[in-house]
């Protein structure tokens, strides 16, 4: 309950002191050794007041005065116990955040579960400036979101979060630190210029059909997961004929090769930024595209999952796996 006391000067001691705890994965249980309890500023003020009242009671030999001081002191002590119990036993788990582009805030989903037996009130989770306040009934779990603004592309970890409470009387603060292993992807910021330059398009034709464009309707086939929802034949679905995807011939002859080498003269980040914009535009148009980076090559495809793969490759370019 109080400050944990590993052997001084051991490695564990310094690690705890400097808060270099390694991130933990999986559900984390807030238990006795992780929770600290100390008087808050208000609690200290009340302490001073109680001392003054005690001196008054001694001086006037006022029995009810003693009683009042003891009652308030006891309430304060008890509130420390209640604050600790308010946090003890909570289970926290990280969810998977969806990727954002650099400069946007990354929302980390976090699940807080109260296995009971008591309700939890006014539990505050904080990372940075925006605290999230929640109450939990026994047996209730809730998902909340913590934000971190991303600056650069790459992986962004949630980092250390503080969980604390001033429940019930604001006299004592119980808190703990958690370093959950949750990371999100930050994609490079897409370049401002729009449009797909023509040299991206290859003339590879597969089946020899020189199609008239990407709007040539070829036929229907069963839906594969990953097909763009734009190509689903909704009418067929409404007629209960199953989920079918429309196929367009143009796709086979209009393929994009998003090549790293097509951007000489730009530095790495600018290139990635431009490539990111192209990926987005290609995906928006429903075209098939491939991505070729110096160390990585992704064959042309289309769909949501393909887009994610490409964006991820762009985000993590240059990082060790």
């Amino acid at each position: 309950m109080a400050l944990p006391l590993p052997r001084p000067l051991s490695g564990e001691f310094w690690r705890r002191l400097l808060r270099r705890d390694a991130p933990e994965s999986g559900p984390v249980l807030l238990h006795r050794k992780r929770i600290y309890v100390l008087p808050s500023a208000n609690g200290l003020k009340l302490g001073v007041l109680l001392i003054a009242m005690l001196i008054g009671a001694i001086n006037y030999n006022n029995s009810l005065g003693y009683l009042l001081v003891f009652l308030l002191a006891t309430l304060a002590l008890l509130s420390a116990v209640h604050a600790f119990i308010n946090l003890n036993g909570l289970r926290l788990r990280g969810g998977h955040p969806t990727g954002v582009f650099a400069g946007e805030p990354l929302h980390f989903p976090l699940s807080v579960e109260n296995p009971g037996p008591r309700a939890r009130s006014a539990v505050v989770l904080r990372q940075g400036d925006e605290p999230v306040n929640l109450d939990l009934e026994p047996g209730q779990g809730r998902w909340i979101e913590l934000e971190r603004v991303s600056e650069r592309r790459g992986r962004l970890a949630l980092g250390r979060i503080t969980i604390e409470t001033l429940y019930p009387l604001g006299l004592f603060r119980a808190w703990g630190y958690l370093n959950l292993d949750i990371q999100g992807l930050v994609y490079p910021r897409p370049a401002d210029e729009r449009g797909l330059p023509p040299q991206l398009f290859s003339d590879e034709s597969g089946s020899g059909e020189l199609g008239r464009g990407s709007d040539d309707f070829l036929g229907l086939r069963p839906y594969h997961p990953g097909d763009s929802p734009r190509h689903i034949h909704w009418k067929a679905l409404a007629r209960e004929q199953g989920v079918l995807s429309k196929q367009f011939g143009g796709e086979q002859s209009r393929r994009l090769n998003l090549e790293w080498d097509l951007l000489p003269g730009l530095d790495t980040e600018a290139r990635l930024s431009r490539l990111c914009r192209w990926v987005l535009e290609a995906d928006e148009a429903g075209l098939s595209y491939g991505l070729r980076l110096p160390k990585l090559s992704i064959p042309p495809a289309h769909g949501d999952r393909h887009r994610e793969r490409c964006l991820e490759a762009l985000a993590l370019y240059g990082e060790a796996p």
Partner: protein, 649 residues
């Protein structure tokens, strides 16, 4: 800090401010009340807060009002008034959570200040109520987005907290070291005027004798109490008169008297303990006559030559002391100086009295005494608490004209008669009698028992008590309770058969006993009582450090017990809807593995339906109803869910 929590705070502050506002002079109380009502209006209606200039003006107004009323701001009464008004003013500028916390702390302090005015049982109970409400308000403050309908929950939690604190508070109250005596001097005011006794007597000055039921002191006799006729409690002794005013001896005159020589005691000693209420003076009351103290009476004191007891320190707090007295005594011879002082009369005052006494020339001293008493008994003298006023020759006017008065008149007149006859006499003031509480054996002496009587010096018995008021026959006593004055133990035979009177008497005595126990054991729990407690617990003789360690250990053990109680046990939700749901889940534990935390109600219902197919309908309906009430806006009634759950199985 939202509107709901502010309103809860105001509701909690009202019973704290009320007694102070009531006690203050009316205009001050009204100022405070208006300020409070203003804040209430602000919160209830959403009005804006007053600006800085207005607030400063109000502060100065409050300060000035207190200063004008009490002529100072130091001391108990002005201090309490000032603090009360400051709290009301602070309310008007309360904006943030920090302001509210400060207001609550001033509230706590104001409660403590209130204890300087009253420590009765009612105050004790009000104490808990007030802390109960304030704690709930504090809880609400720290709960963002609380609503007014959450108030019941806050009250329940506050009550739980309070109940949990009782054992620890008791440990602290009993074991925390009690330091005797004040740490510095204490203000005297607020205690004067509490006593019916004075050390001056202005004959005819009082035309209405108040009848205060306030307790003067309690006496507990080791053995049987003496008969009521011997229950005279000695206070100031008055010698010198100018015809109207009677005063005690001053230092020069006292020097001439021999120091307290032991008198001859006849009969057995009476030992008793007195619990004396504070009265701001130095008098210690004792039964006539107090023995030369052979044992310490635990309060620094000295005895005067006229058998008064004076404490070294002002009696500003309740004290308890043991005494020994002898009710039958012979004080022996007196010196010429003492006789001179005892026959002092102003030369020209009260001529008719002197003339009357001349007629008794030639009688022996005892005969003179009898004559005077016979006069009171046979002639139409009346005892009343509202006599006519007397002027320059009060004894003459009383004896020959008005013939109505109370104890002071009779005592002063009698002593004047004696002195005119050359017999040394003096007035003794103090208390007479008291009511014996049959429940606990304590003798309760109230301010209304204050009395004045006379002592005359006779050859054969020394200073002898004579109570002229006792000479008045009962039919001429014009105030019913005074008729019982000389039967302080109310004659049970008198009221036997009148069951209402008996019941009332019984109730009264029981209440007195409870009140007495409160005074003795709670209010009177000082260092001596604590030592007695330690003896009984076998803790006496331990050094203070060990006691403190035991106290801390007990507190830690209790805290641990409470922590365990809170952490273990079945899940208990605060929200009634959740309680119903949990009860349902618990019941279903027999049918299927328990619900996982991340399992939503519908998924859980599906699992249950698979396990108990014959109830699948009802189970799904219950889960659906719960989900609707919990997550949808404006869901259904809890009672519906309760009924559905009850109908299951």
């Amino acid at each position: 800090m939202n509107r709901a929590s502010r309103l809860m705070l105001l509701f909690a502050l009202a019973p704290i401010l009320a007694p102070h506002l009531w006690r203050m002079p009316v205009w001050l109380g009204l100022i405070g009340l208006l300020l409070f009502a203003w804040r209430a209006a602000i919160d209830w209606r959403g009005l804006p807060l007053p600006g800085k200039w207005l607030r400063t003006a109000l502060t100065l107004l409050a300060f000035g009002a207190v200063l004008i009323t009490y002529k100072s701001i130091a001391g108990r009464d002005p201090g309490a008034a000032l603090l009360t008004l400051m709290l009301c003013l602070k309310l008007l500028e309360m904006r943030s959570l920090r302001d509210a916390s400060l207001v609550i702390y001033i509230g706590y302090f104001l409660v403590a200040v209130g204890l300087l005015f009253s420590q009765s049982i009612a105050t004790g109970m009000a104490l808990f109520l007030v802390i109960f409400l304030l704690t709930a308000a504090l809880m609400a403050l720290h709960q963002p987005d609380t609503e007014l309908r959450d108030y019941r929950r806050h009250l329940r939690l506050s009550g739980g907290l309070l109940l949990q604190s009782l054992p620890i508070m008791l440990v602290l109250f009993l074991l925390f070291p009690r330091i005797p005596g004040p740490l510095w001097g204490m203000p005297n005011e607020g205690l004067s005027g509490l006593t019916g006794i004075s050390d001056t007597l202005f004959m005819g000055g009082i035309t209405e004798l108040a009848d205060s039921e306030a307790i003067a002191f309690r006496a507990q006799f080791d053995g049987e109490p003496p008969p009521p006729g011997k229950l005279y409690w000695r206070g100031p002794v008055l010698w010198h008169t100018d015809g109207q005013l009677w005063k005690p001896l001053d230092a020069t005159q006292l020097r001439g008297l021999r120091p307290l020589a032991p008198y001859e005691a006849e009969g057995e000693a009476v030992d008793y303990t007195i619990t004396l209420e504070p009265h701001g003076r130095r008098w210690l009351f004792a039964l006539d006559l107090p023995a030369r103290p052979r044992e310490s009476i635990s309060v620094g004191h000295r005895a005067t030559p006229d058998y008064q007891l004076h404490s070294e320190r002002f009696v500003n707090e309740r004290i308890r002391y043991r005494m020994r007295s002898y009710t039958d005594y012979d004080t022996g011879l007196i010196s010429l100086w003492e006789a001179r002082l005892g026959t002092q009369l102003p030369p020209n005052a009260n001529p008719r009295t002197r003339a009357l006494v001349k007629q008794w020339h030639g009688l022996s001293d005892t005969q003179v005494v009898s004559r005077a008493l016979a006069m009171f008994r046979e002639q139409p003298f009346y005892y009343t608490r509202t006599p006519p006023a007397l002027e320059r020759n009060p004894v003459d006017e009383f004896l020959f004209e008005t013939r109505q008065g109370f104890c002071e008149h009779y005592a002063a007149a009698f002593v004047t008669l004696m002195r005119a006859a050359g017999i040394p006499a003096r007035i003794v003031t103090g208390y007479q009698g008291g009511s014996l509480n049959e429940v606990d054996g304590f003798l309760l002496v109230r301010q209304s028992d204050a009395h004045a009587w006379a002592e005359v010096w006779l050859d054969e018995s020394g200073w002898t008590r004579v109570d002229p008021t006792a000479a008045i026959p009962p039919e001429r006593v014009l105030y019913t309770p005074d008729q019982n004055r000389f039967d302080s133990v109310i004659d049970r035979e008198m009221i036997a058969g009148q069951w209402l009177a008996e019941t009332l008497l019984g109730l009264r005595q029981n209440w007195d006993a409870i009140n007495n126990a409160w005074h003795q054991w709670v209010l009177g729990f000082d260092d001596r009582r604590q030592r007695q407690l330690f003896e009984r617990l076998g803790l006496d003789g331990l050094p203070w450090l060990k006691i403190i360690l035991i106290m801390i250990g007990a507190i830690a053990a209790l805290l641990l017990a409470i922590a365990l109680y809170l952490s273990l046990g079945r899940a208990r939700a605060d929200d009634p809807l959740q309680r119903l749901w949990l009860r349902f889940c618990r019941r279903m534990e027999k049918a299927a593995p328990p619900r996982r935390i991340d399992e939503g109600p519908m998924d859980y219902a599906e699992r249950l339906a698979a396990a108990v197919p014959e109830r699948a309908e009802a189970i799904r309906a219950i889960a659906g109803e719960y989900a609707r009430q919990r997550y949808a806006e404006g869901g259904g009634e809890r009672d519906t869910l309760r009924r559905m759950i009850r109908e299951l199985r």
